[in-house]
Amino acid sequence: MDRAALAEKIDPELLQMLGRMPRRQQRQVLLLLMVVDNLVYEMMRERRLREDTE
């Protein structure tokens, strides 16, 4: 799928806000999202492990 088609799946206001940011900040947003994603994954995994042992 090309980038324009992917962009159409994104909320226009969010895209507009990101479009106003410099590239460096956009990359930081991506990094932040990936870190949060990883954190949530770790927390879920830990909770599942805890539930299994209980």
Partner: protein, 151 residues
């Protein structure tokens, strides 16, 4: 091209008189004349669609001339964003459901608002002052162009 000129051009190309087009599109000839002369600024989409159908042309040209968003204009806007937003970020965000995208927008707006507001007992970033009390750091988020609100 202005809407009135566009309608006139298409009508003449279709070899229709104002009366014929008015009849075929169920509008009064007076109204059609006002449209062509630019005296009606914001005609309804329904009227424009009837006029376009009567001339056997697509509605997009008339809609765009009247300032309505069409699939084509939205696509162009998206293409503009696509060029200015990081490709990886677009890929990541497109995989998120819309409700999560909206929540992310709120989080980012909230962060920008906190980081750029001038609180009374807080530093320039909105966080409590620490060792650097008295030093006003330059916010790296000025480029977000959010108006700084002073409480």
């Amino acid at each position: 091209m202005k809407l009135g000129d566009k309608i006139r051009q298409l009508r003449e190309a279709s070899k229709l008189t104002q009366g014929q087009l008015a009849n075929a599109s169920s509008v009064s000839q007076g109204y059609l004349s006002q449209l062509e002369n630019g005296e009606v600024k914001h005609p309804s989409a329904a009227v424009l669609l009837r006029i376009a159908q009567a001339m056997h042309v697509g509605g997009d040209e008339l809609f765009e001339a009247a300032g309505y968003a069409t699939v084509r204009t939205l696509r162009e806007a998206y293409r503009g964003y696509e060029a200015t937003v990081e490709a990886e970020l677009i890929t990541y965000l497109s995989g998120l459901p819309r409700d999560k995208q909206r929540r992310l927008l709120l989080v980012l707006e909230g962060m920008a608002s906190v980081l750029t507001s001038n609180g009374d007992s807080r530093g320039d970033h909105g966080w409590p002052r620490g060792r650097d009390s008295g030093v006003t750091p330059r916010s790296p988020h000025k480029s977000l162009e959010y108006s700084r609100s002073r409480n």
